[in-house]
């Protein structure tokens, strides 16, 4: 019997057609029904997407998230009021046709401000989170995996944990604000400054968590097995270690977005943020806290947007995590 024939035979048995297999088993050894042998692996990402699709919460969250993104990106094209335009006569107005979501204390249109603010907040939140989480995961992976790097990297982490944030940020502004805005233009320059400031000061938790998990994982036998087939370190980390520590990373990422959005608003109070007339969700929220009783919608709206974004990201993260976990996949 040739190899191919044998393969056919095995495939037949594996097909889901129970009746045929039953008959085959009852009578003789497998019939030689030629059937295509499913050889290739389907793309892993397609698989993950398929699985992700079946996660109701994640899909709802994804749709909502896309909605939010459209709101902040496409919205300003439709609702063209300048978010910084001061219309002093219309100040503190409630919901109306001219200002569907009202105006603020200077008569700036809240809808336009929420849209403009969302662009910044989401961009900052996502980018800073990505920076923090990748940096954190990288350092965590390296120090967990390479015993020699562990001590220096963890001491570095301790150093960063210990640094007082405020002076550090102030120093960063002093040193980098001008060069950055000269090289990248004021808006992009400040954006880079903000995301790197947030990123550079919030990777430590992820690093510690990842390292802790890697330490345990490293002693698992499949890592030993991978070593025995000559897997080089980088591939070992990327293919064997990283997927197995993904779920805490996912959580860190979700939480990271929330912190980044809030931190951004805190930064503007150090003069580190975008120009003061430029809205962001965090700042809209902060500015309105004092007037919470008089104008509750001004706190609620940005608050809802922040929470909604974070919730969406959380559910998407959950869905992704489930989709990546082969043991859950398929159910």
């Amino acid at each position: 019997m040739t190899e191919t024939e044998r393969q056919h035979q095995l495939s037949v048995a594996e097909t889901v057609d129970a009746a045929a297999a039953q008959a085959g088993a009852a009578t003789a050894l497998p019939p030689d029904d030629p059937l295509h042998a499913g050889g290739e692996t389907r793309s892993q990402w397609r698989d993950i997407w398929r699985q992700f699709r079946s996660h109701k919460g994640a899909i709802v969250a994804l749709v909502l998230f896309v909605g939010i993104i459209l709101f902040v990106l496409v919205g300003p094209l439709i609702w063209t009021i300048d978010p910084t335009y001061v219309d002093i006569r219309a100040r503190n107005s409630g919901f109306s046709a001219a200002h569907p979501l009202g105006t603020d204390q200077l008569g700036r249109d809240m809808l336009a401000r929420l849209m403009a603010g969302g662009q910044v907040s989401i961009a900052v939140g996502l980018t800073a989170m990505i920076i923090a989480v990748s940096l954190g995961s990288l350092i965590g992976l390296l120090s967990g995996y390479f015993r020699r790097l562990d001590a220096p990297l963890m001491r570095l982490t301790e150093l960063f944990l210990a640094l007082p944030l405020l002076p550090l940020l102030l120093l960063m502004v002093t040193l980098f604000r001008e060069p950055l805005s000269q090289n990248f233009g004021p808006a992009l320059g400040i954006f880079i400054l903000i995301v790197s400031a947030i990123g550079a000061t919030s990777w430590m938790q992820a690093a510690r968590i990842v390292r802790g998990d890697v330490l345990g994982l490293k002693e698992r036998e499949f890592i030993l097995a991978a070593k025995s087939i000559g897997t080089p370190a980088h591939r070992m980390i990327l293919r064997h270690v990283l997927p197995n520590v993904l779920s805490p990373i996912m959580v860190a990422a979700t939480l990271g977005i929330a912190t980044a959005i809030i931190t951004e608003s805190a930064l503007s109070f150090l003069g580190l943020g975008f120009p003061p007339d430029f809205p962001t969700w965090g700042r809209l929220l902060y500015d309105a806290v004092d007037q919470m009783i008089q104008y509750p919608s001004r706190v609620i709206l940005p608050g809802v947007f922040i929470s909604l974004t974070v919730l969406c990201v959380n559910y998407i993260g959950d869905g992704l995590r489930d989709a990546m976990d082969p043991r859950i996949r398929g159910r």
Binding site: P275, D290, Q291
Partner: protein
């Protein structure tokens, strides 16, 4: 009757860090210490002097001030006692002067002792202060809560470099005021009890007082106006509608006292552009490309609606103003023409000066575009002002980029930082400033040519606008020679007008009061912008609503 009204609760959201005003120049410390420590004389809300420990205010008439203006003699009241029961003597006053003037002590109130040659005790109750030169305004040292009298016995070992080691003394100074400290937790809480030795046996009405720190202005106002947990809140600078909302609860109200604080915009007459090498930015080496044009400066001022700014930012605790020196009465110039906004006029002015609108709506002349960076410290009201003013300026064709800086950086004069007030690496900047006591002369003296900040003086100059007019310098010199109060005031007004309406180097916006909230059950409160707000705390009582 002393001690009959129970406890007085005060909230100061910026908490006092010490009870010794000589070690910290902050208003919060001065207010707290004024409950315990007293000067020889204080200022009334109207800006007049009144006696505290002194028997009378020395004047030329009563011979307290020497004819040559080179000395002043103070007489203490008789029978004054420190809260520990010992008598107050002239030695204590002499010692206090010695304490602050010690070169190693780093005394914050040293400016008050400027020009003093010596202080001597003439007898137990008489002190004479000798000046090196004739002193037109001798009411400086020991006048106002900034320079109260310390007890010699207590502070004897705290001179000079030892000053900071005397924690007990600095936190628990023995004083003559209506209250004495029972517990001092720095930056947190101070508890007081009525001073049993206070000179008026019927006062204070409260048996104890607590000064609580922490939180922010809104929280402090809320604690007085909404929850009623506190009787008095200092510095409740909030948006007018927020205050109005809180006052609706009917528990208390916010009132303001007007001193000399003016919120204003400074125009940079030198070029802050980063194209110049470090050390030459914002120095007279490079005049500003367009702000040196008086028309532009005037247009900037004309485009502003000060009335609206006041309404939005300060409500009743502010007044629109065109003056740099808004008070005292005698010194305030009747300069009011800037109070009405005149956008069209501003446009016309610019047009006339050759600044024409370019393609993008920005005015330009000879390739110079009217684009500015407008900086200020982080503060909600200031940011609202920035937004409004930016809009008005854009209406007259001037584009503005806004920038905010953390207050501790902006007001900290660290020569290493590019973002300080003194460096002024922007085209215009906004902040508020005032002078203490009743003498605006030193305040006006900041604007002479030689005081422009530059690398030469480690950026420590006070002439922030880099305003330089020989005529001004000359007039200033004349002021320092003049003694007659009326004449002095006249010169002061001229100087004020030169800075504001004539040159528009300073664009005043709002004459600000200091707002404080107090409960309706607290009687006797009389705000005072010229002295500590607690100046008359001895008279405060509990009243029923």
């Amino acid at each position: 009757e002393r001690g009959s009204d129970g406890a007085l609760n005060i909230i100061m959201w910026q908490a006092p860090s010490t009870m010794n005003p000589y070690l910290s120049g902050g208003t919060k410390e001065i207010i707290a210490s004024s409950m315990t420590l007293e000067p020889l004389a204080g200022m009334t809300p109207e800006g007049e002097h009144y006696t505290r420990l002194a028997a009378e205010i020395p004047t030329l008439e009563n011979g307290g001030i020497a004819e040559d203006l080179k000395s002043v003699t103070w007489k203490l009241q008789e029978g004054l006692k420190w809260s520990d029961g010992s008598p107050v003597t002239a030695e204590d006053v002499v010692f206090t002067g010695q304490y602050c003037m010690d070169p190693n002590g780093g005394c914050s109130q040293l400016a008050k002792f400027e020009g003093i040659e010596s202080i001597e005790a003439v007898d137990d109750l008489t002190v004479r202060i000798n000046f090196t030169d004739a002193m037109p305004d001798p009411y400086s040292a020991f006048v106002g809560s900034q320079s109260p009298i310390l007890q010699k016995v207590q502070f004897e070992n705290c001179l000079g470099a030892n000053a900071p080691t005397c924690t007990d003394q600095n936190f628990n100074p023995i004083g003559t005021g209506p209250f004495r400290v029972t517990q001092f937790l720095t930056n947190d809480v101070i508890t007081f009890e009525a001073n049993p030795e206070y000179r008026d046996p019927a006062k204070p009405a409260f048996a104890t007082a607590t000064v609580k720190g922490g939180g922010d202005a809104a929280a402090a106002a809320r604690a007085v106006l909404e929850t009623g947990e506190f009787d008095y809140a200092w510095n409740t600078q909030l948006a007018p509608d927020v205050i109005a909302g809180m006052e609706q609860m009917g528990r208390g109200k916010v009132s303001a006292a007007f001193g000399s604080l003016v919120e204003r915009i400074h125009v940079n007459l030198t070029d802050p552009s980063s194209s110049h090498p470090e050390g030459e930015r914002s120095t007279e080496a490079h005049p500003h490309p367009f702000l040196t044009d008086p028309a532009v400066r005037q247009a900037l001022s004309m485009a502003i609606d000060r009335q609206l700014l006041t309404e939005i930012g300060y409500g009743t605790s502010g007044q629109p103003t065109c003056n740099y020196v808004p008070a005292p009465e005698a010194w305030a110039s009747d300069n009011t023409e800037c109070l009405t906004q005149d956008i069209e006029g501003a446009k016309a002015l610019l047009e006339e000066a050759g600044w024409t609108v370019g393609g993008n709506g920005i005015r330009e002349k000879d390739g110079v575009q009217l684009r500015m960076v407008y900086q200020t410290s982080v503060n909600a009201v200031r940011q609202d002002f920035q937004a409004l003013i930016k809009q008005w300026w854009s209406e007259i064709g001037i584009e503005t980029e806004l920038k905010t800086i953390d207050a501790s950086v902006f007001f900290g004069s660290d020569p290493g930082s590019p973002d300080t007030l003194q460096k002024f690496y922007a085209d215009v900047q906004m902040y508020a400033d005032n002078f203490e006591g009743g003498n605006p002369a030193p305040y006006l003296a900041k604007w002479t040519c030689d005081k422009a900040p530059s690398p030469a003086n480690q950026w420590q100059g006070e002439n922030i606008s880099r305003y330089c007019d020989p005529a001004y310098d000359e007039l200033m010199a004349e002021l320092s020679r003049t003694v007659d109060p009326a004449e002095r005031a006249e010169i002061g007004k001229r100087l004020n007008d030169m800075l504001t309406k004539e040159s528009n180097a300073i664009i005043p916006l709002v004459y600000r009061g200091t707002a404080s909230a107090h409960s309706n059950t607290l009687g006797g409160v009389q705000l005072n912008a010229w002295d500590s707000e607690m100046w008359n705390v001895a008279d405060w009582t509990r009243v029923s609503q």
